[in-house]
């Protein structure tokens, strides 16, 4: 299966004026999302998930690397060509209240991209917006309201309706549930599943809720400190995590059952980004029993197969053979 979206060695740096140096938010990352699949992207805050996703859709420009969408090099095109291809992939923002222009109504916000791309004209715009709102289970009269007049759940649905207005094939969902009440989350996930079936969409789901990722993705990439440390089939990665960071991430999931209370293997302080570490970025926090000098000096590369790959010098042999 040819990948719908393919990233090769993508790097993104931000200038830090205070430190007079660059911070690498995404470091040499390569991933592939095959058409029709659901990929999860997990990792702690600040690990570069959002930056990676935004670079992948050219919402911000990567400093290096190749981005290919369905055979088209996104990093090579610009202007009208880029504007046209943008209808093929859409991004759903984490906080819907920031993702809408506060001075236009929901209907105007949803209609504008359709008018720009000639998907509808002024005459049938209203009808199409109503249809889109119904598709995400919103009543049509919400269209006349302003963003702040909607609840978080309603606005996130409206935001999905706006993304769907240009008929995309790939949808990037950036922590779409984090701004929502817990009781609404399962409804939202059901909606995602239904839309995927109806519109044969490909998903990239960014989340730090491992429970959601476990049930609603086919593959998962674990990000830590600007790099992907583990990638593979969701079931495999979450049941037999090979990277110490993935393991710690799984252990940190709170459980309602007190008998299942687990202790983290990680030690040390959570450190911010550091450009100077030559070795493994997880070295300071790593609780791996075989942690050694090599970890401190040499950066581990992502190794393995399409089923599962890990960036760790001391992968459990049992897991390696499986991969």
């Amino acid at each position: 299966m040819t990948p719908m979206l393919e990233l090769r060695n993508v790097t993104k740096r931000f200038a830090d004026h205070r430190l007079r140096s660059n911070i690498t938010a995404v470091d040499n990352v390569s991933i592939e999302i095959p058409a029709g699949t659901r990929m999860g992207l997990v990792g702690e805050s600040g690990s570069g998930k959002t930056t990676l996703a935004r670079c992948a859709l050219r919402l911000s420009n990567a400093d290096a690397g190749e981005i290919t969408f369905d055979g088209t090099r996104l990093d090579h095109i610009s202007g009208n060509e880029l504007r046209r291809i943008r209808t093929q992939f859409q991004y759903v923002f984490q906080n819907p209240y920031l993702a809408f222009n506060p001075r236009t109504t929901i209907r105007q916000s949803i209609a504008e991209p359709m008018l720009v791309h000639g998907i509808c004209n002024r005459g049938n715009a209203e009808k199409r917006v109503t249809k889109l709102l119904e598709r995400v289970e919103l009543s049509a009269d919400l269209g006349g309201r302003y963003p702040h007049e909607l609840s978080g759940g309603e606005l996130q649905r409206a935001s999905i309706a706006r993304a769907l207005s240009v008929k995309p094939r790939l949808l990037v969902l950036d922590e779409p549930l984090s701004a929502l009440d817990v009781s609404l989350r399962s409804q939202m996930l059901t909606l995602f599943d239904r839309l995927r079936q109806e519109l044969s969409l490909t998903y990239l789901l960014i989340s730090h809720d491992l429970g959601v990722v476990a049930h609603h993705t086919d593959t998962v990439a674990v990000m830590h400190s600007a790099r992907i440390v583990e990638f593979g089939q969701t079931e495999l990665v979450l049941s037999k995590p090979a990277h110490p960071y993935t393991r710690d991430l799984l252990l940190s999931v709170p459980s309602v059952d007190p008998k299942h209370h687990k202790t983290l293997t990680s030690t040390g302080q959570i450190t911010g980004h550091s450009e100077n570490t030559e070795g493994c970025r997880y070295f300071a926090r790593c609780g791996h029993s075989m942690k050694d000098e090599q970890c401190e000096r040499k950066q581990p590369q992502l190794k393995g197969t399409a089923m599962a790959s890990v960036a760790c010098h001391h992968v459990v042999p049992d897991r390696e053979s499986k991969g």
Partner: protein, 336 residues
Amino acid sequence: MRSFRWVPVTLFVLFVVVRAGRIGDLLSTGTFVEQTLVALTFTLLAAIIWLTITPWPEVLSKFFKPFDVRIASLVLGAIMILAVFAPIASGHHPNTQLDLVNGQLLPPSLAHPFGTDFVSRDLWSRVLFGARVSLMIGVLAVTMAITIGTMVGMAAGYFGGWVELVLMRLVDAGLSIPRVFWLLVIVSLWGTTDIYVLILIIGLTGWFSTSRLVRAEVLRIREEDFVVAARGLGISEAGIVIRQILPNVVPPIIVNATLGIGQVILVEAGLSFLGFGVQPPWPSWGTIIQDGSARIIAAPWIVTVPGVAIALTVVSLAILGDRLQTTLNPRDSAQF
């Protein structure tokens, strides 16, 4: 507060009744311009009566709901009507020296509501005619300044790079030289001090700070998620600038403009003092203050009257600007 709508029409009818004699005089012996003004008075009266008795659209009645907004629009409306109809409202020609022997520096009285100045000119007439000049310079110069400032600021903020570099260094250079110096240089190079030239010059030197303000706002807004979202949806740069960014920089521009009008009225006063503004004997609020400042102890009303007029204008504009801002913001306008 429905009855409040009758206040403007009552005041206007009162104005026509009190000045009925003058209106009659102008109709029979006035110039063509003065006769046109008389005709305009009655047209306006009819319009105000019509507005009072017909129901207003919801937007308008919402806008005028707060009490301070009503007072401010009443004050500003009165000042504007008196300025436009100055030949009707004033008793004397603003430049006529009435009685150079006994009529200098007379305190306010029934014959001269605001007194007379040091060459025995009726201050009430001078303030009314001065309002024409000051308001025209204020409104037109500020409109020009914020238009240029907004365009420069938007271009610099949105496009960045060398566009921003060039434009902002230009603004820095403009701001580093005192405005009065700018004005003097341009005025002396221009050679004339026609009022339209004055407006042009004040407008051309007034946009620097606006452009900085707009640029800062654009820099903030262009990083917001909704702008990124619009770009992600394939909306063109022009579409983003006009429909996403511009509506969100309007509020600070309105505040800037309302305060700018008061400032420009004072700048014109300063220019007049240096001999480059409105040429004597014609009055503007600024020149009246300049004239009166030398006799502030002997005749304090000379500076007080135009000073209060400027203050009332600026405060009323600020209240209306604030109200406009609230009405334009859907988040605030839903609350009252």
